[in-house]
Point group: C2
Chain length 434, copies 2
Amino acid sequence: MQYNPVELILKKRDGQALSEAEISAFISGYLAGDISEYQMSAMLMCFFFQGALTSEINALTKSYIESGESISFAADLPVADKHSTGGVGDKISLMLAPIAAALGLYVPMISGRGLGHTGGTLDKLEAIPGFNTQFSMADFQNLVLKHGFALVGQSADLVPADKRIYALRDVTATVESPALITASIMSKKIAEGAKYLVIDLKIGSGAFMPNLKRAKELAKLLIATGESFGQKVSVVFSNMNSPLGHAVGNALESIEAMEYLKGNYLPDTYELTTTLVSQMLLMTGEAKSAQDAEKMIQKVVEDGSALAKFTEIIEAQGGNPKVVEDYKLFAQARYQIPIIAKASGYIQAIDARTIGYSLVRIKAGRMKTGDTLDYSAGAILKPKIGDKIAPGDEIGIVHANAKAEGEKVAEMIRAAYTIAPNKVKPEKLIYEII
Amino acid sequence: MQYNPVELILKKRDGQALSEAEISAFISGYLAGDISEYQMSAMLMCFFFQGALTSEINALTKSYIESGESISFAADLPVADKHSTGGVGDKISLMLAPIAAALGLYVPMISGRGLGHTGGTLDKLEAIPGFNTQFSMADFQNLVLKHGFALVGQSADLVPADKRIYALRDVTATVESPALITASIMSKKIAEGAKYLVIDLKIGSGAFMPNLKRAKELAKLLIATGESFGQKVSVVFSNMNSPLGHAVGNALESIEAMEYLKGNYLPDTYELTTTLVSQMLLMTGEAKSAQDAEKMIQKVVEDGSALAKFTEIIEAQGGNPKVVEDYKLFAQARYQIPIIAKASGYIQAIDARTIGYSLVRIKAGRMKTGDTLDYSAGAILKPKIGDKIAPGDEIGIVHANAKAEGEKVAEMIRAAYTIAPNKVKPEKLIYEII
């Protein structure tokens, strides 16, 4: 190649901006095998420490996109998607996508798997017996055009550069770089053909963003990158200090999503789903106001058309549509272990991260890529911050196939609840929308 | 292993100090293949950006030493060595080691090869027909005990961790880290058994250190690390803005060193050699003052005993000792190409780095590890900063086996001399000694 990789690393290391040609050469050289894994990891660490200019992030995003295939939809189709930065109990995509499709939007949703304490939409979908998430780009596009949405994993042809680099970041402590996060998220969301994108940027103990200030810096990069590729982006800053809804664990979350689509809302998932779909409807011009949007959303849930859409995609993607009516078709855990409160008072905090990590012990999540899951494993956790608790109250139920481990998890989850005598106000779920 | 490598990288990345146990686990895990090259390169880049505490540098140095074999000499032997941080025309080791040995010191000198614009002692020695620099640790120690010195390369058993990590640093832009430089230099110099060490820390355009301030920061680390392993360290800060002596190139520099040992001193190499050997004599207590030391040094050169020592080691290491008397036994370049001045005035500056890099074109140096050398190639450059030059004057002579390339090099070297009308004072060669 035309550039010396060591000189490019050196340039970035010393705080000089790389040109589009240099970034493109580095990425394509890496994919061609001319630049080694260790040189890429050194470069990624330089991005972590030095940050990147908008021009560099755009170049990185472009080179990711150009490493694979892209989808483009007809100009008049309202193609909109959502991205979440990851949390605990986050099954919003499973409600949002069928609702949006029922409202006439086209949602080409490409999701990821869970890792560490956070869950992944793909795993929740695959908890549905037979549900297939692996499609070629062409088949994926056809699903979206036919059903208004599809729920798939990243194919080998979609931004393969990002796929390889993400795996490398994961094992080299270079995940938490706003520049690299931006290129990774946006390249997928641009290559999949979304013209509108709402990002659920989660903040708090269960998210990777510690505070609103840092989240806003990332949001700026995400919006700027989307815009430079002609995509309209809206960011919803949401609270991830405690798990969303009641269920944490793959089958349990799928069931909770189905219940939602049957109108059995929970307050927090209702607020977040409605806010995110509303942003999609407002951006695409399908709704004139948030109030209108909320009415439209309620209608497609209450008339059963959103649930019908979900049933339709389950069947289209090879899953057993009967699960929607018969939850016994999901894998069932052998043990239901209650989590019993010992303290008396009000819930001050719920450590979502600890809950996520504890559930990895019973395979509701995975510690590293490739770990197998037990779809039936998880927990139902009903009390929320501010709720009153007395000794002997049931905080929740752990679903596990291993009794001793399940009891350990129940104990860990109990300890994740901070209970104290003083009353507390529930925290806000949505901080801000931009 | 006991530690998660990603968590250790993360810890260092976020500015927390690693413990001795963590550093030891990371290095031994790397050597055992449990930690990959890309994880090591990410960690090295974190050391570059975050620096390191003395405790971390000591732990790194210790783990380098423990990765291989160490030599130890009897407590009463004055075992002293010199290290140079690398420059252009630096053949000091070839004079210093035999002089020190002739004065009763034991010098277990382990040197490196040239890379980029800088030359390497090993290459200069190997320009001597038959000279072998590869010995086991035991044979190396025996040579030192028998002859008072030996001039060898790093064996596979000496700090193998440093050897592997240095090669990785070279291709990942992580060379210029004071912490990593310190561990790399000091681990070798401690493992070879030197009790006293003088470091020629070069500053200027031909060195990797740009200024005295940065050099002093490095010197502090070098001295502290040596001390924590019971080694006494002295640092000489020297000027590397222009090449040392007249010769640049392997055979030419060997010959210049032999001429020196015959009493044909050049002012700059005399000053630097004498200063460095004096430090060795003062540290070991063999001399009471710099004046005494200088007299002792002059004596062993002028009575021929230093040259005899050099001849002795050439023979002991398999070289042809007749080269000392017959320079025609060295490889001879086919073309001698004069470098002719065009401008009139005084030499303001000599760009040593450009000269070093230009000579790589005729294989007097190498661009990357493993490149082969032409020992006969190089240049003789007599004028120094402050000298008066007129158009048509000979600045020097390029020795090359390829005429066109040699002429190009002559042109590049000519351009490396800045000539202007104003008189200039020659620069100081030795800035400071600590």
